[in-house]
């Protein structure tokens, strides 16, 4: 049902119904959360340093937020193309030895990783 609600309430849309001008917000960064989302283990010192740099860069970016862009459609692809497909044909897969050759850890044909926290 999340997707259902997301689908209805999601702010950004393909057509010109963009939310237009965004009044610039004071940049506040929960760097710990960001680092967790990005799966990068940072020391406290690093967190402080990076959050300062990020704030600095984002303040520079606020001028962009100030731009009036009502009625402006976002560009996601430089060239206006649609529908690039491939035919439903099987192409030979890689040789498993080549696949596992570069693996940090493997076990009888599988990639091996440490135990996983129950987050799935």
């Amino acid at each position: 049902m999340c997707l259902a609600t997301c689908y209805r309430s999601n702010p950004h849309t393909l057509s010109a119904q963009s939310t237009g001008t965004i009044t610039s917000m004071p940049v506040e960064i929960d760097i710990e959360r960001v680092a967790h989302l990005a799966r990068i283990a940072l020391t406290d010192e690093e967190m402080t340093a990076y959050s300062e740099q990020l704030v600095h860069i984002l303040e520079h970016a606020e001028r962009v937020q100030a731009l009036p862009t009502d009625e402006v459609e976002p560009t996601s692809h430089p060239l206006p193309m649609v529908n690039a497909f491939r035919p439903d044909e099987v192409i030979p897969s890689l040789d498993r030895d080549d696949v596992l050759a570069g693996a940090p850890d493997a076990e009888d044909g599988y990639f091996r990783v440490p135990k996983i926290l129950d987050e799935s």
Partner: protein
């Protein structure tokens, strides 16, 4: 007689066909040059001696059979973010140290099929994030014109090897200026093609909607020849252009009479070094003397290009680089759980600039900020495209300096990310628009450092872009070479 390492691709190609020398001779010359220059530059990360030799020998056999493929037997170098089967590919990151890919990227495959001899893999800013090649996990590359300065980036290694002749040509990738700016700082030609003209399959992604592979060479015709070898639709890249490839080298000798050239107001004012500005103006005057109609044109949205770029590129890279986590390939730092292993691997495997951009992009995409940052940046991109569209309604090409300054000293900008980002001010707009642009050397500053001139064209406007570039090359006749570009220099 001239050292074969100093030949242009066109000259070398002719010499090979006339059998004045062999592809192996040519490779020997280039490797001899590398043996001397590398000690000063550190432009190569890997030299594939065996692979290169085999390719050169194969080329010599084909040449005897009268094979006329233009790149047959030509020694070229590849930026190390281009995936090469069996040859270590690291993108200058610790996280990929020792990775030997099981496949070739499309551009690489096409170059092999064209008979080119791949000498080795060149240094770059880690994952192409940077403008100086100082962000390499394997140490910086130095500028052959003055080894105290940077060669630019992120394709600094490819630019340096071409400048000194340890390869006759090279390929790099350009996301915000990463081909043109180093070409400008090392006195060579570098082109960023229209987005989609060259397949990105096998190019380790930085920012997917901006990345584009392109050539670096000593001359405009050489650059055109290299681009023609790799351009064209690829079924493995959904964003590759499914249409006719522009006639890139058809009009190289036509001149600029009647060509309408627009000088971008915003890029010939403050923030640009006076000597760079002077050389730019001089070149523009030459062009109008040669019969081009020159006007000034304003692209107001360009003011916002840099900010938009630094929201879009990190956002895309934060997802593109998520695949590096120690599970399937590359570095792994152990941890009690997989989550811990991943976080430690990424902390140790990524350098500071890459980490900074991943964090920035993750934040820009995270709940509540999407529209304020990424979404808004994509709309600015549209404004910019509209400005370009209007401009190209009045002119055939736009021109500007390639870089606001000549090469700066190593370490000069590493302290503050923003000042480093500002070095891309002239090049970023065309990446956001998806348009092609090329940098051609037009002189030296007082310090004897090269100055580059940028020519921009509308999407798929490569023909007129190369046409103007070739004329600039003739008019300026830039023949200077870095002191290092000779096999007589002794190792330090």
């Amino acid at each position: 007689m001239t050292d074969l390492a100093d030949l242009t691709i066109a000259q070398a190609s002719a010499g090979l066909r006339e059998q004045e020398f062999s592809a192996v001779d040519l490779l020997d010359a280039v490797e001899r040059r590398a043996a001397i220059t590398e000690a000063h530059l550190h432009a190569y990360l890997t030299l594939d001696r065996e692979g290169a030799r085999e390719a050169a020998e194969a080329a010599d056999i084909a040449l005897v059979d009268g094979d006329l493929r233009p790149l047959l037997g030509i020694p070229i170098a590849l930026k190390d973010n281009m995936v090469t089967k069996g040859v270590e590919t690291t993108a200058s990151s610790q996280i990929l140290a020792g990775w030997k890919p099981p496949y070739d990227g499309t551009a690489v495959r096409r170059l092999r099929e064209a008979g080119a001899v791949i000498v080795g893999k060149t240094n770059l800013d880690e994952f192409a994030m940077g403008s100086s090649t100082e962000n390499s996990a394997y140490g910086p590359t130095r500028n052959p014109w003055n080894t105290e300065t940077v060669p630019g980036g992120s394709s600094g290694g490819s630019a340096a090897v071409v400048a000194v002749g340890s390869a006759l040509g090279a390929f790099g990738s350009d996301t915000g200026g990463s081909i043109r700016q180093p070409a400008s700082l090392t006195g060579i030609v570098g082109a960023k093609p229209t987005y989609g003209l060259v397949s990105r399959y096998g190019l380790i992604a930085f920012a997917s909607s901006l990345d584009q592979i392109g050539p670096l060479a000593r001359t405009v015709p050489d650059a055109a020849m290299l681009l023609e070898a790799v351009a064209g639709w690829d079924r493995m890249d959904a964003t590759s252009y499914h249409g006719d490839v522009p006639a890139i080298s058809r009009s190289l000798n036509v001149g600029v009479r009647g060509v309408r050239i627009g000088v971008v107001t915003e890029l010939v004012g403050e923030g640009i070094d006076p000597q760079v500005l002077a050389a730019t103006r001089a070149t523009i005057d030459r062009l109008s003397e040669a019969g081009a109609d020159v006007v000034e044109i304003s692209l107001p949205a360009i003011e916002y290009a840099l900010s938009a770029y630094y929201l879009i590129a990190p956002a895309e890279c934060s997802a593109n680089l998520a695949r590096f986590e120690g599970v399937r390939y590359g570095l792994r730092v152990d941890g009690a759980t997989t989550e811990e292993m991943m976080a430690r691997t990424r902390a140790e495997g990524f350098g500071p600039e890459v980490t900074r951009r991943i964090l920035l992009g993750t934040y820009a995409l995270s709940a509540g900020y999407y529209d304020a940052f990424y979404g808004q940046a994509q709309r600015v991109r549209t404004l910019l495209r509209n400005d370009f569209a209007t401009a190209y309604g009045q002119v055939d090409v736009l021109v500007s300096p390639t870089s606001p300054t000549t090469a700066f000293e190593i370490g000069a900008k590493t302290g503050d990310p923003l000042t480093m980002y500002l070095t891309d001010i002239c090049t970023i707009a065309t990446n956001l628009a998806g348009d092609p642009a090329i940098s051609v050397p037009v002189g030296l500053d007082d310090g004897g450092l090269p100055i580059g001139f940028q020519i921009m064209a509308p999407a798929l406007g490569e023909e007129v872009m190369f046409r103007v570039a070739a004329e600039v090359e003739r008019l300026v006749d830039f023949t200077a070479r870095p002191r290092l570009a000779t096999s007589k220099v002794v190792a330090p």
